[in-house]
């Protein structure tokens, strides 16, 4: 077991869809979507302004402090 370095906070501050959220350090994008009870196949995630087109990469994407996520989906429209 490694001791976290002083500059690595144990809780990360995220901005998700414009609102502040906090998650534990080491949380992956897959973990985070699961915690929100979101089905990854039904949403699209933009991570720090980069659209993630490969859903298989969600598990290996570890969130960082200050990360900005946009989670979108399809809604009714004309």
């Amino acid at each position: 077991m490694t001791t976290p370095l002083a500059h690595e906070p144990s809780t990360l501050a995220l901005t998700v869809n414009g609102d502040p959220r906090s998650v534990a350090a080491g949380t992956s994008l897959s973990d985070f979507l699961a915690s929100l009870k979101l089905d990854p196949r039904l949403v699209v995630v933009e991570h720090n302004r980069t659209i993630l087109r490969d859903r298989d990469a969600y598990a290996s994407l570890i969130l960082g402090d200050g990360d900005i996520l946009e989670i979108v989906h399809f809604v009714g429209g004309g």
């Binding site: 998700v16 869809n17 414009g18 609102d19 929100l36 979101l38 196949r41 039904l42 949403v43 699209v44 933009e46 659209i51 993630l52 087109r53 859903r55 946009e70 989670i71 979108v72 989906h73 399809f74 809604v75 009714g76 429209g77 004309g78």
Partner: protein, 268 residues
């Protein structure tokens, strides 16, 4: 409900946009319905194959309804993501890319709005965004004004079809400039789909009588008192207008011409 009775193939042909073949000339939106069940019934009644959707933030608190994919089967309908609500080129491109990342197709119904009050499109910005997205491999269906030059520029920029308005979005004013729409249809090589402004079935028939390839509508169905009946009416009207166009109408003349024989009358 199995209301989508296709016209017999000897009456009308299928048509193609961007290498994909379509049967129904009516495309419909999914906004403004009272319920998802009503939306599905109306879409089925319309016979549409192409169904537009918008890209928006997920409500993480779930106080609102879930995403539309819980209700619409992407295997059954071609989902066409729009960029509704975008006023800037950058935003529009971002929304188009988000829509594509949902993973269903490379198509986008491109809208860049130029004015909040009228929701009229910004043609210059739409042309620029079309150029960028077409280069990225998008199949761009470009919403625009009923203006020939904008339509020609969109075709040059790589749009797979051009979608001039009948009248402003959600206005229900019907076809305001038949001449402009016919001119666009005559001059473009890519298909022309009239988008926005259809308020009732006769509007849809008049649109199709101009010879355009199809029509897209949302509010005209969703805001009717009975959307499922109106969707059926729109399906019939689109077919009626298309057939009337193919049949070729009689010339207009401002004199009466009798339909019955003028000979053989009694006591003459």
């Amino acid at each position: 409900m199995t209301a989508s009775v296709a016209l017999s193939p000897d009456l009308d042909t299928r048509f193609e946009i961007g290498g994909r073949e379509f049967r129904s000339r009516l495309m419909v939106g999914t906004g403004k319905y009272a319920s998802n069940a009503q939306m599905i019934s109306a879409i089925e009644a319309s016979g549409a194959e192409v169904v537009t959707v918008a890209v928006r933030r997920v409500d993480l608190d779930r106080t609102k309804d879930e995403g539309i994919l819980h209700h619409l089967d992407p295997q059954r309908f071609m989902l066409l993501a729009n960029t509704a609500g975008c006023f800037a080129i950058d935003d529009t491109i971002r929304y188009a890319r988000l829509g594509r990342a949902a993973g269903f197709n490379e198509w986008v119904k491109l809208e860049v709005i130029g004015d909040q009050q009228t929701l009229l499109p910004d043609a210059a910005a739409t042309i620029e965004a079309t150029r960028v997205l077409a280069a990225e491999g998008f199949k761009v269906m470009a919403y625009t004004n009923d203006d020939l030059i904008s339509a020609l520029r969109l075709e040059d920029a790589g749009a797979v079809c051009v979608m001039p308005l009948a009248s402003p979005i959600g206005s229900g004013l019907g076809m305001l400039n038949e001449f402009a729409i016919r001119t666009i249809k005559h001059r473009l090589s890519v298909p022309v789909i009239v988008d926005a402004g259809v308020g009732t079935a006769s509007d849809a028939a008049i649109v199709m009588e101009q010879g355009v390839d199809g029509v897209l509508m949302n509010t005209g169905i969703a805001a009717a008192q009975d959307p499922v009946r109106m969707a059926t009416a729109m399906r019939l009207a689109v077919d009626a207008g298309r057939l009337a166009y193919l049949a070729g109408r009689m010339p207009r003349r401002e004199i009466a011409v009798p339909s019955s024989p003028t000979t053989g009358m009694l006591d003459r």
